[in-house]
Assembly symmetry: C2
Homo-oligomer: 350 residues x 2
DNA sequence: CTGTTAGCGCGTTCAA
DNA sequence: TTGAACGCGCTAACAG
């Protein structure tokens, strides 16, 4: 008789009254009358097992209520089937669609997702990254900005696929799926100029990408002879309150403006609310421009224009990039640089 | 020289040219000149190690860039330091505050969170649960409803702490932190009645709890002689579009109403938008009642009333319940049943 | 197609 | 305070 491995040694042992020991492959194997390895294969590579063995195993699995221990599996196979996703915050996130699509796709492909909220504290973010890396994820998706240099180094050292989403930075860590925030600013400027607006203003939160959009907007306006663009920058996260305070701040300091460009649709909604409470008509007295098309948020007001970003599509592309890399045979690691673009939606004129 | 354990077998072996072997305790131990066990202790229980050994180890850790493998650690210790959180969707979630607070608190306590989006497919949800259980989480938090019976059984079998949040159901699986949706409906009805409203209507998504709130609202109204409450129920998720279509549906079928009760603030915002586009004044022509106080969403309109739920506090209480249970010595598992309550906010009258 | 052997990297448990 | 043995539950790699 073959020697059995592990704790439940030989057939002579009593009915095993263990306190609450978890079911293992061995238990299932005993019930099914096969070796543990066969059970393992029947579950993970069913095609490598004969039809009838597979059925015996499946029956045993159901009968016992066995749930494979992925910790052990991951350790042995050096594959965790885990993808970490970092995003700034879960509340009111312009990344919601992206994350949803990404998670759906990954889940469907048999991966699970570890969500990391990076928030606004660089130090905490670093600890978070280290903790996450300890789980040995198979890949990482970054949406927010990774703030510290040491974080970037750690990531590189980890030697796993990394996708940066929602941006097109110059020095990507690895893969990239996004669009140019500079182009967004530029396009916004041109569009509004072409509609005849002259007195611009900005309400934005202090988010790196948002500020980049603002800067390029301002630069483009300057090219067209507009030198001063009153700007209100408030602390994240983006809330309606930010929009209300932003517009209030501008108007209360006597700024005369025809159009307010906002860092996100949520902020834009706040601006709309403040405008309404001051009796300003939109877009006649004041036009408002949002960003992100957060779950069709723009529909709150028929005249709210916005820059629509197809978060859903970005999510799917990110997922695909990762899955391709996971399935890449050797190291056929093609660089991934996808410009997803964006769409300017002017609801005032449609 | 002491015999080495594991893969790098005996002293005779060559310089170990492994392909890309990950750093292990052993590597760090070698650099620090101590045993692997000491490194392990220096990292997880620093108090059990002498000051100078600890420093030698820490230096070695930094020099090598070692990141402990939690897969191995969890397997050996039978503790994953992982908490799974199930919620219906990430987009526009009324649970956002709760999840944020919960994650923050857990992260700070050294736990990580696996997010599961249960969405609207019961079968997929079941697979998701099984996959998640495979990671051997130390605890699970449920916000949405767990749809299948077999899911509930599996959960119970897992033998880990479970917290159901945002509700006060009759037959909880384990712990409970929430409030009574029936009471919300009742309180809403009473409040609006006391303000003199007579012609009620409802716009809700087809979410179990939302419907329970509606039902109890309707029941309470009936007690006061109001028998017909026109109701528009739309498919989840809650979006602005739902609110717009909901109100449009009501009005277009000729419903005369003074006050619309909505299943969430997001829906309420949609209703407000539709009302505005039809030239209805709020609350003079039509009062609107939301639910959730989603990130102060109610501030979009000065006259939007709402039922405020303190998601942040719920999140913290859930975290505390879990952490208490984790730290419970034996099985001093006190039952947890917290009624967090809710607050009716009538912005029209303040 | 199935079984055997030998770890994956760490923490538990004891002994020193 | 430190170290050695052992096994957590599983899979890779080979053998049959």
């Amino acid at each position: 008789m073959p020697k059995k491995t592990g704790r439940s040694a030989d057939p002579a042992s009593p009915p095993e009254p263990k306190k609450s020991a978890s079911l293992t492959l061995i238990d299932v194997a005993r019930v099914a009358g096969v070796s543990p390895m066969t059970v393992s294969r029947a579950l993970s590579r069913p095609d490598l097992v004969s039809e009838q063995t597979r059925e015996k195993v499946m029956t045993a699995v159901r009968k016992t209520g066995y749930v494979p221990n992925m910790l052990a599996g991951s350790l042995a196979s050096n594959k965790s089937r885990l993808v970490a996703i970092f995003l700034p915050t879960i509340a009111n996130s312009i990344f919601a669609d992206t994350v949803q699509a990404l998670m759906d796709r990954l889940t469907q492909a048999g991966y699970q997702t570890l969500l990391g909220l990076t928030g606004y504290d660089a130090e905490q973010e670093e600890k978070l990254l280290e903790a996450v890396l300890g789980r040995r994820p198979d890949g990482i998706v970054l949406t927010g900005t990774l703030h510290t240099e040491s974080s970037r180094t750690r990531l590189a050292q980890a030697g796993i696929p990394v996708v940066e989403a929602w941006d097109l930075s110059e020095d990507p860590i690895d893969m990239l799926v996004g669009f140019s925030h500079e182009k967004v600013g530029e396009a916004t400027a041109r569009h509004l100029l072409s509609k005849g607006y002259k007195r611009f203003s900005i309400v934005s939160i202090g988010d790196p990408r948002g500020l980049r959009r603002c800067n390029s907007l301002i630069a483009e306006l300057k090219q067209h002879g507009i030198d001063t663009v009153p700007m209100q920058v408030l602390a994240p996260p983006a809330t309606l309150q930010v929009g209300r305070e932003g517009l209030a701040g501008l108007l209360d300091r006597g700024v005369a403006t025809d159009v307010v460009v906002c860092s996100s649709d949520t902020v834009a909604q706040g601006v709309l609310a403040e405008a309404a409470s001051r009796g300003l008509r939109v877009p006649e007295d004041l036009a408002v421009m949002g960003f992100g098309d957060l779950s069709s948020a723009a529909q709150v007001h028929p005249a709210l224009s916005t820059v629509k970003v197809d978060g859903n599509r970005i999510g799917l592309q990110v997922a695909q990039a990762l899955l391709d890399r996971f399935n890449a045979p050797g190291d056929s690691a093609r660089p991934v640089r996808v410009d997803t673009g964006f769409t300017l939606i002017d609801r005032a004129s449609t």
